[in-house]
Subunit: 355 residues, 2 copies
């Protein structure tokens, strides 16, 4: 994610730019989730041969081979992954934003007087142009109302329910199907080499935790994300419960990524993966450590199989996951590897496998 002034895991600028491209409110039935098996024999079977794949294999060999001078003790093997645009599709707009808008009908059902109150009235209308014209202040109201103010258990249930039915507008599949198979392989390969894989996302920590274990094999305790305050309290019968508060505790984007890594992990990663300027500081912080390092950035240059945006290398401009030419130049200068989706990835999604 790019940063601007984020609101509980959501980037304001993106809301303005992405809303016009939103799919209509979703409500399709559940379908099978992304497969995560690796191709037999080659741990990186979805990668084309070449310097990018070699960089990954070389890094793992250097850090794990007992005879390597750059071997890293297992307890220090930490790899961090941005999520949106690095592990799953972020265009035309972040899935979490779609979730927030999709929750408005449920919200109004619980509190019917909202249906005549802006901005809920406009979101309910389903009029995409009108939604895109909502002011930042109005959008904030939707985000706070849908991401906070409820118990963490209720929130988890709502996200689960949404994930089981919502479908993306292009592939007509659950959002959790739109995971990049090559990146799943990298995570599995690292884990099989005693690395601990973490998600470090500008997205909402509680949102991603709902599906991270099932989809990525990453448990909730290894998800670092933008986090709201949490409040301990009691139900009428005395049962304790936790409520999500409408206040920002950790803005896990840009400089907030290394800050969040220190807070939640307390170790510097040896490897970091991102795709946008919001990941720059995480890669920089990772790269500043001693010994073997691996910093990689996914470049979305494949409009046919996914999307193409930069604006690095003359790719179209975007406000959702900006990969600037400046970032591209920095990557080249610092020996960060730029992953070309088009050239480096043999297949994009697990459901492409037979294609």
């Amino acid at each position: 994610m790019n940063s601007d002034k984020p609101i509980v895991g959501i980037n304001r600028r993106v809301l303005l730019s992405g809303l016009a491209m939103l799919p209509t409110l979703s409500g399709l039935p559940f379908s099978a989730i992304a497969q995560t098996q690796t191709t037999q024999g080659d741990p990186l079977g979805s990668w084309n041969e070449g310097p990018t794949k070699k960089a990954i294999l070389d890094f793992v060999r250097a850090t794990t081979d007992p005879s390597s001078s750059k071997r890293v003790p297992p307890e220090q093997r930490i790899a961090t992954f941005d999520q949106d645009g690095t592990l799953w599709v972020e265009h035309p707009v972040y899935s979490q934003v779609v979730y927030c808008l999709d929750q408005v009908p449920t919200l109004v059902e619980k509190d019917p007087k909202l249906k005549d109150v802006e901005p809920f009235k406009t979101v309910l209308s389903g009029n995409r142009e009108a939604i895109a014209k909502l002011s930042l202040h109005e959008l904030e109201k939707v985000l706070f109302a849908t991401l906070t103010g409820m118990s963490v258990d209720d929130f988890e249930m709502e996200v689960k329910r949404w994930l089981a039915s919502a479908k993306d507008g292009r592939w007509k599949r659950p959002y959790t199907d739109l995971i990049y198979k090559p990146m799943l392989e990298v995570m599995q390969y690292l884990r099989s080499s005693d690395f601990r894989t973490y998600i470090v996302t500008g997205g909402g920590q509680d949102f991603v935790r709902v599906y991270s274990e099932r989809v990525y094999g990453i448990p909730p305790e290894q998800v670092v994300g933008t986090a709201a305050g949490i409040k301990y309290g009691y139900q009428k019968d005395g049962t304790p419960f936790l409520t999500k508060e409408p206040k920002l505790l950790l803005n896990d984007d840009n400089a907030g990524k290394p800050e969040g890594i220190h807070l939640m992990i307390g170790r510097r990663p040896c490897a970091a993966f991102g795709n946008s300027t919001g990941d720059r500081e995480m890669l920089e912080y990772t790269g500043a450590g001693d010994g073997a390092r691996l910093m990689m950035l996914v470049l979305h240059d494949d409009a046919q199989r996914e999307y193409a945006y930069g604006p690095a290398q003359g790719l179209p401009e975007t406000k959702v996951g900006t990969f600037s030419q400046e970032l591209y130049d920095e990557a080249k200068k610092k020996n960060w590897t730029v992953i070309s989706m088009k050239n480096d990835w043999k297949r994009m999604f697990a459901f492409d496998e037979k294609g």
Copy 2:
């Protein structure tokens, strides 16, 4: 830890009550660290036979035996431990407070004009009575000055240096020797049963992380504690680094414990261990989950081998790690197990082993 209005992991009330009992500033040479081996055969060899030991064994059997109806899947096996008074000695005052006062000479060396400025002047005098009379505002200055305002790397180095030389006033040993052997055994036994053990402490997260892996076998990423804000920035040569800011991000005590557990772990523990009213909410939150549960509170009732304080069960009053009669009654009512140091523990410390 008990709560009051805490300042970066330190409890104000404690400062007032504990400072009068402080050992003189320490500076003794390094000595051997606590041994962590378990007694062969019995995983809880330092525990006397009885209902307390049986409660631990029964819980582990119920949650891990494949034929048990209460078996918990390994990924959900989370156990949380308070530190001060639960894993190591907290009397006469928290080790971290001693650290802060011990750091004042170093601080003054770097900034000599502080030696004539209060409260640093008084702390430097070594006059315990005068130190105990410092106002809360003055003590805050010492804590902020010694726990924040420096890079996380410098802080880690300073804590390491201190741990290697500082000695406790009663046993004349490094503070990290004063770890309760029976609790080390519980942690090791749980880990060998595929539980992940976490420290959840009112103390400073960055402070505890410095020694948690070496002393408890708990890695930095499994330490949840009171945390200051962290700021990403650059040295003159462009190298990025993280600075500890003088602002409180997470107050990990009382209700802050379940809140911190949600933020940092994202799962409800199955087992929780504490020793004071500051741990009440963590045990309550743990107990409110489904299935087999284990909630335990260490009662310091052994003045001969350690300390005796409550005031539960008529034990002497204290402001460092209060175990109130109300908490004792709640424990009995809710089937939380109270561990009697005197009756349940065969030995106290690893260095007692041959005694």
